[in-house]
Symmetry: C2
Subunit: 261 residues, 2 copies
């Protein structure tokens, strides 16, 4: 499934240009000028971390799912709508993390269009990110010009515009979030072992962690409880099973982990 392509329609370059020019006037009417949104959706499943990317039709260019903000819409509503419309992904909680507003961020794009075309304007893009179990996300492309897939963060295609910077900043933010907020719920099975939880952290951080330190630090966060059961099967000593204490997990999500000053 992962590398499957979804094309809803095949358009020539000429046809695409005509559509963009026609849609331009509508865009000026319904969207807030100068502001766009880009979403970095990290997907974890089965010990791999991926990111949701789109391919721009006709250009062999890859980018993050993005779009514009309706004049009568909050930023976060716009981010959810865009992600749903561009990928079919629903109910993903997105965190805003940074605005990208360099003058030259879209240099060279839409050069062949008139200066008044909506897409050719300068946009400050508000970045949102999320971490989801990608096996639970149902991608349905309903946009005519894109294809969409999960790509491993180690094998990313070359991104258009400043999307590599947006991705990098999102990854740094996600990694920092591990020091401040719990993760794992909805990404791991309901009951999991400490090595499984450690593996999740290692994959996001992109580095090995010391087992003893991980164990101590995680218990100090006080968001887990140990179950009276252990995992059956296998030749080794059955590992202890843990579960998130959802009440404490929620508090830690709101107030931060017991980790800082």
């Amino acid at each position: 499934m992962d590398s499957k392509w979804y094309f809803c329609n095949e358009l020539s370059t000429m046809e695409l240009k005509k559509i963009i020019e026609e849609k331009s006037q509508e865009s000026w009417e319904i969207y807030l000028p100068s502001i766009s949104i880009d979403c970095v959706v990290f997907g974890f499943h089965d010990a791999t971390l991926k990111v949701l990317v789109l391919k721009m039709k006709d250009k062999n260019l890859w980018g993050l799912p993005g779009g514009y903000v309706n004049k009568l819409e909050n930023l976060s509503e716009a981010a959810s709508r865009i992600l749903k419309k561009r990928t079919g992904a629903e109910n993903i909680y997105l965190n805003q993390f940074r605005a990208f507003g360099d003058l030259d961020r879209s240099e060279g794009f839409f050069e062949e269009y008139a200066d008044t075309v909506w897409n050719k304007q300068r946009f400050v893009s508000i970045g949102f990110y999320a971490l989801v179990d990608y096996s639970k996300v149902n991608l349905i492309i309903d946009n005519f010009s894109d294809a969409c897939e999960w790509k491993s963060i180690e094998e990313l295609p070359e991104f258009m515009m400043d999307h590599q910077t947006i991705f990098n900043t999102a990854l740094i933010t996600l990694r920092k979030q591990l020091n401040d907020k719990p993760i794992g719920y909805n990404l791991l099975p309901e009951k999991f072992t400490m090595p499984e939880l450690q593996k999740l952290y290692e994959i996001i951080l992109g580095k090995k962690l010391n087992r003893g330190n991980f164990y101590r630090k995680m218990l100090r966060y006080d968001i887990l409880f140990k179950l009276d059961e252990s995992r059956k099967g296998g030749a080794h000593k059955a590992p202890d099973l843990y579960q998130f204490d959802l009440e404490k997990y929620e508090v830690a999500l709101k107030e931060g982990l017991n980790n800082g000053w």
Copy 2:
């Protein structure tokens, strides 16, 4: 000095309205639509934490220093220019922390103006914050409609629009930054005692810290060196003096403190 008022000009409500309407057309020409900037400048000095606030003329309304982005200017350049123009404060390094884009964030403002007036448009505001030694900032108000001063964060006036939310988010971000980046350089004397450094952290965090834990954690960060001298004078045992190891301090600023996973 702290509570001194700076008025450059006295204008009637009618005169102010006329100026805003006249400036509106110029604003449409030079600024990027829909985007504004707000700056939260925290000032520390002599064991107190303050924030830079402006008073809107004629309205007895308080707000954060803010403004708009020129069409040919990066976001961070705009933030520095705005802060300098509105407060006289120069060379302050501002960190972008969040965009504020709720639909109703400026509800009721500029109601008496025509819908086409620049200031009445919907703006998504990009928040920037900084922490400086306020005794080193030279406030010179060159804007006709504001007054500007440092206010203690415990005795803030009622803010207009969503500026209380912007301030709160900046304070939370600054507090989190203490877990990730070093602070103190340029805020403390070159040579300082551990209790002085602890006091700085306590004032920013708004809570007392355990002395032993603070000491251990700070040494683990490995950004200080202990001097061979101690502070003279006083009846008690002379406290040890420390200095930041600026090379390590710079690395920690870039790469984060030795604190996370």
